[in-house]
Subunit: 207 residues, 2 copies
DNA sequence: ATTATGTCTAACAATATTGTTAGCGCAAAT
DNA sequence: ATTTGCGCTAACAATATTGTTAGACATAAT
């Protein structure tokens, strides 16, 4: 049994493909580059994964599952106060993005350049987002009725949160040039944005 | 003289290339598709523009010039009050994005997948952004000294503004799925975001 | 009329990229 | 020992993609 070696090469190709697909997208990725990076023959690529599309589907499915878990966990306990839910969402979302900085740009690029190939992502979004937003709207309305916050549109609030969290990482090279390497220290930038975005959103909610 | 016809085919190729490059990026774009869309022979592509890279350079230069003008104009009069400058920046920036919704994703994708080929964009950014941010910081500090606003970091404020303005358009297909076609009516979405983002930023500045 | 110029077509060439296949070698199973 | 299964290599095949070139054709200049 050479099972160990099998898993090694398969895993090596998977890791190489993940990097290649995430950084260059489906059309930009080259199967030869993937094989080369993995340190295996070009034919091994097809031996393990048949076609470029099949491997792409596998990678994108993994990434969608990862994102789905992160989103579900990020909400935390929906029984917490509104401010706690928002803090949880912002913190967990930002940490997920910082850990997977290429993912947002990759997904956005793919759904635009070939909606059909990444339809599974939009499906997931369609299933998860509206329910969460409805719950969030309930929470907002409830606190607003008690005069604790303004009655804002949950959809716009979510758009604001995601925009504030994601954009800097999506456009990191440009942001660093425009704002003098403000993201150079990844850890402190992350903590800064956590505080900053929470503050921005809470001020928006203040009556 | 067939000068009219010349300009026609040249312009047709340019328009087709613009669309192809902006929607698929440099690697995703196919010169055959461009020629086909333009309704001309494939050889005409090379007759007028030699290579794919040369045409790409021309398109991206045009787009950078367009963006540069928009940025410079968007600032408006730097002698206006802080709130007026911010309103101008947000309104003009949003209108520019709404008129060129593909541009942000295109530029972000290119600088990531091939920084060298789109270095001119980062150069422009490097020349323009820091100066404007320094002026904005002066303005903030000045009003803060009079107790009219909080002393916030101009860099983070700009990041917030650009994030809130750009993200929805960059990720439009996903946003529409998650937020139930909230961008379907482009005109009203644009006006809503103008008001919403101005309000969000001004609340952040409130003492 | 002839020449010159620039647009355009059709065919070709070169390379890149994806995908396939015959067969080698090694380890386990019988 | 033989067979079987599986990872693997090397060479090939097929198509896609970019780029080139010889020459046709029309128009303008001489």
């Amino acid at each position: 049994m050479v099972k160990q070696q099998d898993k090694d090469t398969e895993a090596k190709i998977l890791r190489a493909a993940e990097h290649e697909f995430l950084s260059k997208g489906f059309v930009g990725a080259r199967t030869t580059s993937i094989a080369e990076t993995a340190g295996v023959t070009h034919a091994m690529f097809h031996y393990y994964f048949r076609t470029k599309e099949k491997l792409f589907d596998r990678i994108i499915s993994e990434k969608i599952a990862l994102l789905k878990n992160a989103v579900i966990e990020s909400v935390g306990d929906m029984n917490d106060s509104l401010s706690e839910v928002i803090r949880n969402v912002i913190n967990n979302h930002l940490e997920f993005i910082a850990a997977n900085p290429d993912l947002p740009r990759f997904l956005v690029g793919e759904i635009f350049s070939n909606p059909g190939r990444s339809a599974t992502f939009l499906d997931s979004l369609h299933r998860i987002a509206p329910t969460f937003i409805a719950e969030l709207q309930d929470k907002i309305d409830c606190e607003a009725a008690k005069g604790l916050c303004r009655r804002v549109d949950a959809k716009m609030l979510m758009l604001d949160i995601v925009s504030l969290n994601v954009f800097a990482y999506m456009a990191a090279p440009a942001v660093n040039v425009a704002l003098c390497d403000c993201m150079a220290d990844a850890e402190s930038f992350l903590e800064m944005r956590k505080a900053e975005n929470y503050d921005t959103i809470m001020r928006k909610l203040k009556p």
